[in-house]
């Protein structure tokens, strides 16, 4: 028996007296956690001490900052579909988690975050490293709870995992006081399957289903838009079957990317502010909009005043609070996307919608001519983000896990990477957290160790969590890092150029030589500035075993188009800056 097996077996013993700390570790193992991310400190030290005896059964990744730990847990959760786990100490350790927790809340990522807390007798006394973590995290967690007695630990952890993963997933925080960690309990673990006050899923309403089918069968120009709900509900195959049978063109939100293969003939592209031309203009021309597992974010809809007003709207969604929140629906189908799509596929009539699909292809042809061609196959000197992203994607045969940070490169990554399997595109959507990319890639690599994991980041965002290079070096993680360096905070610079009279207020940013920084951590890397050296540089990056950093010099005026200006209608999408002037 290996040490790992011995530890796992020991963790499964029931009815034994152990400390609260050990109960935390055993409960995590009982829930199937294999990798956790964290940073030790005073109030969480008993848990770290208990972890020492289980360090083979439960792999702990020491990040360089708690924000790195939570983003890594997010990346891990997003690629695996499992609950991501992170641990931090009280006070600053816990407050450093908040950005990632807020990010996970808005992007529906299942997380269990465990924070140490001062001894219960000191609560509310402004003790050293005390902060009101339950109060602070309340608006950004699906559920949180403070544990002050050791006996409550197993049950609270079981509930935490159940709540985080079920229904619409989200982050859960458990704040455990130091005395609860030190105290003893008779350990017994039972998974949570039910909570009286919580309904994660609703049975499908057959009448509404029939109403939806009637609308679908009668529609001349139906259009399906999907979000991350497809992957969260493991409904990728059901989505494909549904569009294959009905011939309905489908477009994705930023978080829905990779749920449907890029080369699927009915995949018509990305929605929203920097999405594709066709999906945006056709939103305001379709006669039926079928939204699946998406929440009509303002970056997707533009102004709601003119959004798909001509169309009937079907909304398939697991969270009742999303129904009619932003867009009024004609038929709301509450529940699990997988089941609803399967049932719908059974009862709808087969169709082709040839002419309608052709309209999307025509729109795409216009976009290729005006935008995509010069982004991906530029002839002007100076590299573009689009060509780098596409070359990298192609090198991996479109099989890599692609992680991005936030900004212009994020949009280029979403537009020009191609995907052949789900859960392969990881980015911070709702919160738009710069600094997300590098630590999320760490989690993604640990979740999918046998796949290539590439992170694209800008020079700004990379510097926000650059310290996680230390984690990559220490854990010898083969993350491929591509910095698209345009020497500016590019997205803000683009808005300044278009909407703030080219007043470039504090967007020019000095960066270190990233390759030298990587070298200081023992991570190999290279610079590229010339187009004719790009392919070789990419090849060397992937052929080098372990981590690698490629810094690519990008033209600063490489703006992201098309663009729906903030507050404009999706059908007023601009294809070029000249359109903006008009």
């Amino acid at each position: 028996m290996t040490t790992k097996e011995k530890e796992t077996r020991r963790s499964q013993q029931q009815d034994v007296e152990i400390t609260g700390s050990e109960a935390v570790i055993r409960s995590l193992i009982a829930e199937g956690a294999e990798v956790i991310f964290g940073y030790p400190g005073g109030a969480i030290m008993p848990v770290y001490d208990a972890l020492y005896d289980y360090r083979n059964a439960l792999r702990h990744i020491l990040t360089r900052h708690e924000q790195g730990a939570v983003h890594a847990a997010q990346g891990y959760a997003r690629v695996t579909g499992k609950v991501g786990v992170c641990i931090a100490t009280s006070g600053p350790g816990a407050t450093n988690l908040m950005t990632g927790i807020a990010d996970a809340q808005i992007d529906s990522t299942p997380l269990v975050c465990i924070t140490g807390q001062v001894t219960s007798g000191l609560l509310g006394t402004d003790a050293f490293q005390e902060s009101d973590v339950v109060g602070l995290s309340m608006p950004v967690t699906k559920w949180n709870f403070q544990i002050t007695t050791p006996e409550d630990i197993p049950e609270a952890i079981a509930k935490a995992f159940y709540i985080a993963a079920s229904g619409r997933p989200g982050p859960v925080l458990l704040d455990i006081t130091k005395d609860a960690q030190f105290g003893k309990l008779k350990y017994k673990y039972a998974k949570c399957h039910k909570i009286r006050s919580y309904v994660p899923e609703y049975p499908v309403n057959k009448e509404k289903l029939a109403e939806a089918a009637t609308l679908i069968n009668g529609a001349k120009k139906p259009f399906l838009v999907f979000g991350q709900g497809i992957m969260l509900g493991e409904a990728e195959r059901e989505l494909k079957s549904f569009i294959d049978k009905t011939g309905i063109p489908a477009a994705w939100t930023l978080l829905g990317l990779s749920a449907l293969n890029s080369d699927h003939p009915l995949n018509v592209g990305m929605l929203g502010m920097h999405g594709n031309y066709g999906p945006n203009i056709k939103t305001n021309e379709c006669d039926l909009l079928i939204a699946v597992g998406m929440r009509f974010d303002d970056r997707v809809t533009g102004t709601l005043k003119t959004y798909a007003k001509q169309a009937k709207i079907i909304h398939i969604e697991i969270d009742p609070a999303e129904i009619n929140k932003n867009v009024k629906t004609d038929v709301a189908l509450l529940g699990d996307a997988k089941k609803i799509l399967r049932l719908l596929t059974h009862i709808v009539s087969p169709n082709k919608h040839k002419e309608w699909v052709k309209e999307f292809k025509q729109a795409m042809a216009i976009e290729v001519k005006k935008v995509i061609h010069s982004d991906v196959y530029p002839t002007k000197p100076g590299l573009t983000m689009g060509e780098v992203v596409r070359r990298v994607s192609e090198y991996t045969k479109n099989k890599a896990v692609i992680v991005s940070d936030v900004g212009q490169h994020q949009m280029a990554t979403a537009r020009y990477s191609r995907f052949t399997q789900p859960r392969s595109h990881i980015t911070s959507g709702g919160l738009g957290t710069m600094g997300f990319g590098l630590p999320a890639a760490i989690g993604a690599k640990l979740g999918e160790p046998n796949r290539e994991v590439v992170v694209f980041a800008g020079d700004g965002g990379f510097q926000m969590t650059i310290q996680e290079l230390g984690t990559i070096a220490q854990e010898k993680l083969g993350v491929k890092m591509v910095i698209l360096n345009n020497h500016f905070l590019g997205m803000v610079r683009q808005w300044q150029e278009l909407f703030f009279e080219k007043r470039y207020s504090f967007t020019e940013i000095l960066s270190p030589d990233f390759v030298k920084v990587a070298d200081a951590y023992g991570i190999p890397g290279n610079h590229v500035t010339d187009r004719d050296k790009l392919d070789d540089a990419i090849k060397v990056m992937f052929e080098t075993e372990g981590p690698y950093l490629l810094e690519v010099n990008i033209e600063k005026d490489d703006n992201v188009f098309p663009m729906v200006p903030a507050g404009a209608s999706v059908s007023d999408i601009l294809l070029s800056p000249e359109d903006a002037v008009k």
């Binding site: 309340m138 403070q146 079920s166 899923e201 929140k325 089941k339």
Partner: protein, 188 residues
């Protein structure tokens, strides 16, 4: 159009839930006109009664957000017409004017109020009713010098013959019975 709505939420008795519920209003910059929390007819289940002045759409969305909180069993909203509601007010007035004339006594009779305590210095009067009614008595007593005045949050019950909660709990039990592991409903 903005109007008064009464939000009722039933929940498990859980520390911090009040905060979770109120931040839903704060985040949307909706003012809470009154708030009452107490144990319901069912042991261990708390009832929140919250009054807001808002549009129906906004109230509907807020109620869904309240419902979404893990420990909330169910949240409803009603217009004033759909509910019978009451508030309580306490008034402290000096005893001297009460002794000197029958005007305060007449006010108490007219408003169907009652006296809780009389001391040589002050008298405490209690009145239940709608806000306008308790306000009217306040306006009547004010010329005599109201020393202290306090009004409670609103409590309300529906006009329908059965408690919505018991109806709801039955449905919830049936729904939960369908849920199997990982929070999924097995059969459709």
């Amino acid at each position: 159009m903005k109007q008064e709505y009464i939000i009722s939420a039933y929940s498990e008795n859980h520390i911090g839930l009040l905060n979770r519920i109120t931040i839903i209003f704060t985040r949307r910059k909706v003012n809470i006109e009154s708030l009452t929390v107490s144990e319901s007819a069912l042991k261990g289940i708390s009832k929140f009664t919250i009054v807001v002045n808002e549009t129906r759409d906004k109230v509907s969305n807020i109620v869904k957000q309240i419902d979404k909180q893990i420990e909330v069993l169910k949240a409803f909203y009603h217009t004033n017409e759909e509910m019978i509601f009451q508030e309580i007010a306490l008034y402290k007035v000096p005893t001297a004017p009460l002794m000197e004339s029958d005007q305060i006594e007449k006010l108490i009779r007219k408003h169907n109020a009652r006296i809780l305590e009389i001391t040589p210095e002050y008298t405490v009067i209690e009145k239940t009713g709608h806000k306008e009614e308790t306000q009217e008595l306040f306006n009547g007593l004010n010329p005599f010098g109201v020393l202290q005045f306090i009004r409670s949050g609103r409590i309300a019950i529906t006009r329908s013959p059965i408690e919505k909660l018991s109806e709801f709990l039955k449905e919830r039990d049936a729904l939960l019975a369908k849920i199997e592991s990982k929070g999924k409903i097995a059969k459709v």
